[in-house]
Amino acid sequence: MNIHLFVNELRLQWHEMRQYWFETFSSLFFLIGIFLGLFYGIKGFVLEQGDGQSLDGLVLGFLLWTFATGAYGSVTKSLIEDTQKGYIEQLFLCPNGFISLMLCRSLSENLVGLVMLTIIAYIVMAITGNWLTINFAYFYGILLLAAPSLVGFGLMISGLALLFKRVETVGAMLNLAFMGLVALDGLPLNIFTFLPFVPGASLARDVVLDQSALRLDYLLIVIANSLVYLTIGIYMFRAFEKQAKKRNLIGQY
């Protein structure tokens, strides 16, 4: 991780968001629109059962899913779009290495994503009237600790994209799969704990919805989950990158 690269990526995001403000706002409203459709679609059904907690869970689940897709997409979207936009080769000329660049980009996108998430959270809570008492310091801290697992997962898929190019279908399927991931309970330790992001999502749910105290052992599980997936992701990306360079596939789309 390099601070200059990170700042550079933040600047890039700022330029793109400012110059394409319509896209920025429309994607924000699109997400809110999806959520409202979902929320009011099931509200009547849930209230009939007198389960107000489920609506809170829905709001939080949506926020977690938005973050998860963003964290995963920060690497894959970048690689695929930059290949299409036509300057992926130039990114491979980064002296700090392509992976460092992607990690910096991912961190900057995730931080911007958290700002967007806060905006979405307040708009959604205001519209629906379901106000959650969120300790944002804990919530964001947990999400940022859990995000590397998704980044690692993104690196694996990006490595495949270097070789096989068309992986959008896999990405679309994964976006749906993330809905399941953020709903699974990975704490205390069980089989789901080993899936990417699941412990992080579970811990965030515990802290935000159940107002539970932050447990160190759970936090360590989240960190371990992140480290394992990030390490595997980096290792696999390097292996795919080597193959792509051997076969002269970098940048070909």
């Binding site: 200059h4 690269l5 700042v7 550079n8 600047r11 890039l12 330029h15 793109e16 110059q19 394409y20 930059d82 936009k85 036509g86 300057y87 992926i88 080769e89 130039q90 990114l91 491979f92 000329l93 980064c94 002296p95 700090n96 290495g97 660049l101 080597k242 360079k245 051997k246 076969r247 002269n248 970098i250 940048g251």
Partner: protein, 307 residues
């Protein structure tokens, strides 16, 4: 110095590069010439480490580029096919982004970008994103990015593709100026020999991945044929006779009744013309063309005349 040593690369059974060696010094402009598929782009991509090569080494200031990617700070590259900039940003934003990507920022870099932006004639398009620029201006934006942080070595892969005459002239001027004033070394691949002729100190010619020639442009020119004699006759002439009529360095092609000879000096053709006159042979067609550098270069490649 950038040194390529005995570079080999093959795809399956097909050899893309075979023992290619050459060097590039600071302040020098070297042309990498060759037909499509000759290995020019593979060479440039290898220098950038976008390709894993099989054998050989590439050194920058005696440091093996395989050992560390830090050498990329010293490299600027305009790769083929307008694939060098983020199309959603302006040329200046791109230049700033790529300079920072290499670890360069600050007032001097900003000043350099401003100066180059103006020199490249991009000021009138300052507010346009790269996607809204013409092909020529996209190429200029890519050049701005590659030069923004004043790298020691600049690799330009087919920089004249799609450019109009004026833009090519601008490009020539900028490359010459940067090589002389900023002591930057340029490796330029191109099919455009007219472009190469005006800016290059040395030429490296590749053919099917093999080094065909390395030397000064003047030496290359001396190796090129200057004239082409075409004679069409009513009856074919025997090869034994034809071969006796030509001396020195020449290249003879006979296709039924058409004889085509490439040669370097006007007096080489006299014996042939004298023979036709002596034997009262009336040619159906007889013409002598002065070969352009492009055409002459093609004849060199066809002959595969190794240095």
């Amino acid at each position: 110095m950038l040194a390529v040593k005995e570079l080999c690369k093959s795809y399956a059974t097909e050899s893309a590069l075979s023992n290619v060696s050459f060097s590039l010094n600071r302040g020098e402009v070297v042309a990498l010439l060759g037909a499509n598929g000759s290995g020019k782009t593979t060479t440039v991509q290898s220098i950038c480490r976008l390709i894993e090569w099989d054998q050989g080494e590439i050194f920058i200031d005696n440091v093996d580029t395989r050992r560390s990617s830090a050498f990329l700070k010293q490299i600027g590259a305009v790769l083929g096919g307008c694939r060098n900039t983020n199309w959603r940003l302006t040329a200046k934003q791109n230049a700033d982004y790529f300079a920072r990507l290499r670890g360069f920022s600050g007032a001097s870099i900003r000043q350099n970008i401003e100066t180059l932006h103006t020199a490249l004639g991009l000021d009138e398009h300052a507010k346009k994103e790269v996607m809204k620029l013409s092909t020529g201006n996209k190429q200029k934006a890519a050049l701005l990015c590659a030069l923004s942080y004043s790298p020691d070595f600049v690799l330009l892969d087919e920089p004249t593709l799609g450019l109009d005459f004026n833009t090519v002239n601008d490009l020539q001027r900028i490359i010459k100026d940067r090589a002389e004033v900023a002591e930057q070394g340029f490796l330029v691949t191109s099919h455009d020999l007219g472009f190469i002729d005006k800016i290059c100190d040395r030429v490296v010619v590749l053919d099917h991945g093999k080094l065909l020639f390395e030397g000064s442009l003047d030496t290359l020119k001396a190796k090129l044929f200057k004239y082409e004699l075409t004679i069409e006759l009513n009856q074919p002439l025997e090869m034994t006779i034809l071969n006796k009529l030509w001396t020195g360095r020449f290249d003879l092609h006979v296709d039924q009744r058409t004889i085509k000879v490439n040669y370097g000096s006007p007096d080489q053709s006299l014996m042939m013309l004298h023979y036709l006159h002596e034997n009262n042979i009336q040619p159906v067609q007889l013409k002598i063309d002065s070969l352009s550098m492009e055409k002459a270069y093609q004849t060199l490649v066809q002959q595969k005349e190794v240095k």
